[in-house]
C-alpha cells in the first residue's frame, strides 16, 4: 500500500519564486510529505486563451525539482477551475467570456456565479468549445509536468475537474440545452452525463499526455454522496472532493470523509487552513478539528489548502514570507497523530448509493434543484433536503444479499445499532470505525454530540470529550 498523501498546497504564483525552496522545505519539516501545486490556467494563458507552454514548462520544472530535492512528492491540481480562490474561475477571459462556453438557465439566461464581489458567467460542462479548450489546457499542463519531473514518482497525484466547492449546484450544466425541468429525474441524469463526459474527457487528455498510472483523481463539486456522477465514476476512477466546513458538524464531516475508505480507485480530500477573505471566518482551531475528524474517519490522501498562499487568503499555515504562523506547530502535531492512525482492512458499512436513487432524491429536493450543493456546505445531506430520501444503502443491501462475510452492525451514518465489542453511553453519540491491522483490530471513535460519551471498547472504558477522536487498539483480531 502506498504511503498516505499528506499534502499542503502552495499557491506559487503568489509567492516570490526565490522563496519557493524555503516554503517547500518548511512544509516538509512540518510533516507534510507532498506539496499540492494548483495550476491556474488564467495565469498561464496567451491572449487567445491557449496555454503558454514555455512558461508552464519553466515553472513546473523548477517547482518539481524543488519538491524532489526536499524529499516530497507533488500533487498537481489542474482544474480548469482548480480552487475557489482564483479570479475569473481560473479561466482565461478568452474562454470565460466566450458565449459558446456559457451555461444557461431554462429561459436561456446566462447562469452567473460569484467571483469575489463580482459575478461571472458559469461555463457549461456540455459546451463542446469549453471541453475542447479545457482538454488542451490539461494536455499542455501534464506534458509540461511530465517533461519537467526530475525523477519517476515525483508526481504523486493529478487532479482534474472543477475543484471549487459549488455554491449553487453540484454539477453546473446547461439544462436548457436538453429542455428539461431541473426538478425532473431526467435532468439529474442529464446533468450527471455532462459532468461525467467532462471529467472523463479531462482524464483521457491527462492520460494521453503521460499522467502517471494511478495518479488521476476526478474532482467532484458539492457533496459526493449526493452526486449521481460521483456514484457512477467511482466504479472506475478515483475521486477528489472538499471536506465539509466546521459548521457542518462532526457527524456530517465524518460521514463525508468515510467515503474515502470505500473507493476502490482512490480518493483525495481537501482540508482547509484558513479561508478566502470573503468567506465565513474560520479559526485555526476549527480547521484542525475538521482535519482530525476527516483523518480519523479514514481519509488517507489529503491536501491542506493552503500551506502557503501568498496573498488573498486568510490564515494559511505559512505567512506571506513563508514563515510558519502560530498554528503551524499544531498542524505538525496533527500530522504526527495522523501518522499513527491504523491502516488495514476497513470493517464497516460501505458508503455508496444507487445512482438511480440519488437521481430520484435529487429531483425531489424540496428547496428546488439549485441550492442542494449550497445546503451541503452547511452539512445537510441529500436525505434531509429530499422528499424522497435515498434510504437504505443499495450497496449495503447488495453486499448482504451477496453473502459478504462481514455483516456490518456499526453505529455509523445515523444507524444506531451498537457495534460488537463497542458500547456507547449515550447510544449513538459517537461514530465508530474498525480497521483490521496486522496487530489486531483498531477502533476509531468520534464524539458527534455536545456532551461527553462513555465508550467501552473490548471491555476497557474510555471517556470521549465532545468533538474528540479516539483511537483504540484491541489485541486480538475478532472477525473479518
Amino acid at each position: 500500500m502506498d504511503a498516505p498523501i499528506r499534502a499542503a498546497s502552495l499557491r506559487f504564483t503568489r509567492v516570490d519564486p526565490s522563496r519557493w525552496p524555503k516554503v517547500v522545505r518548511t512544509l516538509v519539516a512540518l510533516g507534510f510529505n507532498a506539496v499540492d501545486l494548483p495550476l491556474v490556467w488564467r495565469e498561464y494563458a496567451a491572449d487567445d486563451g491557449s496555454p503558454d507552454a514555455a512558461r508552464l514548462a519553466h515553472d513546473l520544472a523548477a517547482l518539481l525539482r524543488i519538491v524532489a530535492d526536499a524529499g516530497a512528492r507533488a500533487v498537481l491540481r489542474l482544474g480548469p477551475w482548480p480552487v475557489a480562490d482564483v479570479a475569473g474561475l481560473g479561466l482565461p477571459d478568452a474562454v470565460l467570456l466566450d458565449p459558446a462556453v456559457r451555461s444557461h438557465t431554462r429561459r436561456r439566461n446566462p447562469r452567473w456565479v460569484s467571483d469575489h464581489l463580482r459575478v461571472v458567467p458559469l461555463p457549461s460542462l456540455r459546451s463542446a468549445t469549453y471541453n475542447t479548450a479545457a482538454r488542451a489546457w490539461i494536455t499542455a499542463a501534464v506534458e509540461a509536468a511530465v517533461a519537467g519531473a526530475p525523477a519517476h514518482g515525483v508526481i504523486a497525484r493529478v487532479l482534474v475537474g472543477h475543484g471549487a466547492p459549488a455554491l449553487l449546484r453540484d454539477a453546473p450544466d446547461d439544462l436548457d440545452a436538453a429542455g428539461l425541468d431541473p426538478a425532473d429525474v431526467d435532468a439529474t441524469a442529464a446533468e450527471a452525463d455532462a459532468a461525467m463526459g467532462f471529467l472523463r474527457g479531462l482524464a483521457a487528455a491527462a492520460r494521453a499526455a503521460g499522467a502517471p498510472a494511478g495518479s488521476l483523481r476526478l474532482c467532484i463539486q458539492g457533496d459526493p454522496l449526493a452526486s449521481v456522477a460521483a456514484a457512477q465514476l467511482a466504479a472506475d476512477e478515483g475521486l477528489a472532493w472538499s471536506a465539509l466546513p466546521a459548521r457542518a458538524g462532526v457527524r456530517a464531516i465524518w460521514r463525508d470523509a468515510r467515503l474515502a475508505t470505500t473507493l476502490a480507485h482512490g480518493h483525495h480530500v481537501d482540508l482547509r487552513a484558513g479561508h478566502a477573505p470573503l468567506e465565513a471566518p474560520s479559526r485555526a482551531t476549527d480547521a484542525l478539528d475538521v482535519a482530525r475528524v476527516a483523518l480519523g474517519a479514514g481519509a488517507r490522501d489529503v491536501t491542506v489548502l493552503h500551506g502557503c498562499a501568498g496573498a488573498d487568503w486568510v490564515g494559511a499555515i505559512l505567512d506571506e514570507q513563508g514563515e510558519p504562523r502560530l498554528a503551524a506547530a499544531r498542524w505538525q502535531s496533527l500530522l504526527a497523530w495522523a501518522g499513527a492512525l491504523p491502516e488495514g482492512v476497513e470493517r464497516s458499512r460501505r458508503i455508496g448509493r444507487d445512482p438511480a436513487a440519488i437521481a430520484r432524491a435529487r429531483s425531489a429536493t424540496v428547496f428546488g434543484a439549485l441550492p442542494l450543493a449550497w445546503l451541503a456546505r452547511w452539512g445537510f445531506s441529500l436525505d434531509e433536503v429530499s422528499a424522497e430520501p435515498v434510504g437504505a444503502d443499495a450497496l449495503e443491501q447488495a453486499a448482504v444479499a451477496g453473502g459478504e462475510p462481514w455483516a456490518p452492525a456499526f453505529t455509523m451514518d445515523d444507524k444506531t445499532q451498537p457495534a460488537p465489542g463497542v458500547s456507547l453511553d449515550p447510544p449513538g453519540a459517537a461514530m465508530v470505525r474498525a480497521v483490521d491491522t496486522a496487530g489486531g483490530r483498531a477502533w476509531v471513535l468520534a464524539n458527534v454530540g455536545a456532551a461527553a460519551v462513555a465508550a467501552t471498547v473490548g471491555g476497557a472504558a474510555h471517556a470521549l470529550d465532545p468533538g474528540a477522536v479516539l483511537v483504540v487498539q484491541t489485541e486480538e483480531q475478532t472477525g473479518g
Binding site: A284, A287, G315, F367
Partner: protein, 342 residues
C-alpha cells in the same frame, strides 16, 4: 468596492474572525462539536421550504431537520417556527424561489457589472421575490431599508473614501493590537486590503496605549498605502458595546471623551457619529445634553458646522449605525473568542 483584482494581505484567522464577528456575531466561528444538531444551541439560521400552502421541510443550521410537514400561512408560520428553534433569523423559500432568482439575475447581469451594480441588482431581485411571496426573511431589513440608486452609491463612495486614499481600523485588547484592517482605494476600486499582520509589521513595536499608538499606526499606514482619509482606533470591547448600544449619542460621547479615536475625522464620519447625538438631542435629555454636560453640545455644534458635507443618513435613507445596532441587539451574543493561535 473590492473586486477580483483586490489584493488581500496580512490576515490571520483569529484577528479576522474577531473583526467579522464584531458586526456579524452570527458568523463567529465555532468548532465542529458545537454543531451537534442536538437542539441545545440558540441562534443559527432556519430555512423553510414551502409550496405556498404547505411546509415541505424546515432545516435549522444547528439542529438539522425540524419540520417535514404542516400548513404554511406565510410570515406567521415562519415566525412561529423560528421561535420554536430559538432563533431570530429565518428564511422561507417557495419551491421555485432559487430558480426565479437565477433567472432574474441571469437576465439582468452583464459582464461589465462591477461589485456595486451586482450587489444592488441582487438585492433588488431579492426584494422582488419578497414582494412576490417567493421569499420571506426574518428579520426583514430589505423591506424597511430603501435601496439607493447606483449613481448615489458611487457618489457617496467617492466622498467616503476618495481615490488614492486609505482607511484604517485598529482595535485593541488591553495593550495589544488584536484586530484591524487597512485598505486603499485606487482606480475607483479597493486595490489593497491588509489585516493586522500588516499593521503590526508596518508599525513596529507599539506603546500599548491606543490613544498614543494611533499616531504611529496612522503614520505607518500612510507610508505604506498613502494618505489616510479616516481611521478608527479603540478598544475592541468599547466598539462592541457601542455597536450594540440602544441609547443614542453613544458614539458622539465616546469620540468626545476619547474612548474611541477617530483620526482623521472626515466630515462624513463626524456626521455619522453625530447623527446619534442629534437623535439624543431630540430626546428628553436635550437640555441636559446641551447645558449640563457639554460634550454633546460641542459635538452637535461640530456636526451642524459640517452639515454641508455628505450625510450618510440622508443619502442612504437610514442611519447605518442605528440599523446595525438593531440587528446586533437581535443577534446572539458574540461567543467568547478562546485563545486561538492564529
Amino acid at each position: 468596492m473590492a473586486d477580483g483584482e483586490t489584493r488581500w494581505s496580512g490576515m490571520d484567522t483569529r484577528s479576522w474572525a474577531r473583526l467579522v464577528s464584531l458586526v456579524a456575531p452570527g458568523m463567529a466561528p465555532l468548532p465542529p462539536r458545537h454543531h451537534a444538531r442536538d437542539g441545545s444551541l440558540p441562534g443559527g439560521l432556519l430555512l423553510v421550504a414551502h409550496d405556498g400552502t404547505r411546509v415541505l421541510r424546515a432545516l435549522h443550521t444547528l439542529r438539522g431537520v425540524v419540520a417535514t410537514e404542516g400548513p404554511w400561512a406565510g410570515r406567521e408560520t415562519l415566525a412561529a417556527l423560528a421561535a420554536q428553534c430559538d432563533t431570530r433569523f429565518a428564511v422561507a423559500l417557495r419551491r421555485d424561489a432559487a430558480e426565479r432568482f437565477m433567472e432574474r439575475v441571469g437576465g439582468r447581469c452583464t459582464t461589465a457589472d462591477d461589485a456595486v451594480d451586482t450587489t444592488l441588482l441582487a438585492l433588488g431581485v431579492l426584494r422582488e421575490l419578497i414582494d412576490d411571496g417567493a421569499l420571506d426573511v426574518l428579520p426583514s431589513p430589505l423591506r424597511s431599508v430603501p435601496l439607493p440608486p447606483v449613481e448615489v452609491v458611487r457618489a457617496t463612495w467617492d466622498r467616503v473614501l476618495p481615490d488614492g486614499h486609505s482607511a484604517v481600523i485598529a482595535l485593541f485588547e488591553g495593550p495589544a493590537l488584536v484586530t484591524g484592517l487597512a485598505l486603499r482605494r485606487r482606480g475607483g476600486v479597493i486595490d489593497q486590503v491588509h489585516g493586522v499582520e500588516s499593521l503590526r509589521a508596518w508599525s513596529g513595536p507599539l506603546g500599548g496605549d491606543f490613544r498614543r499608538d494611533h499616531r504611529v499606526i496612522r503614520a505607518a499606514v500612510e507610508r505604506a498605502l498613502g494618505p489616510v482619509a479616516v481611521g478608527l482606533f479603540a478598544p475592541e470591547a468599547t466598539v462592541l458595546d457601542l455597536l450594540r448600544a440602544e441609547a443614542p449619542g453613544g458614539w458622539a460621547r465616546a469620540v468626545a471623551v476619547r474612548d474611541v479615536m477617530v483620526e482623521p475625522m472626515p466630515p462624513w464620519a463626524a456626521m455619522a457619529t453625530g447623527v446619534s447625538a442629534l437623535r439624543a438631542a431630540a430626546d428628553e435629555s436635550r437640555r441636559w445634553a446641551f447645558s449640563a454636560d457639554g460634550w454633546l453640545a460641542k459635538t452637535t455644534r461640530k456636526v451642524i458646522d459640517l452639515a454641508s458635507t455628505v450625510d450618510l443618513q440622508a443619502v442612504l435613507g437610514f442611519d447605518p449605525l442605528a440599523v446595525l445596532g438593531v440587528v446586533l441587539r437581535e443577534s446572539r451574543t458574540r461567543p467568547t473568542q478562546p485563545d486561538d493561535p492564529a
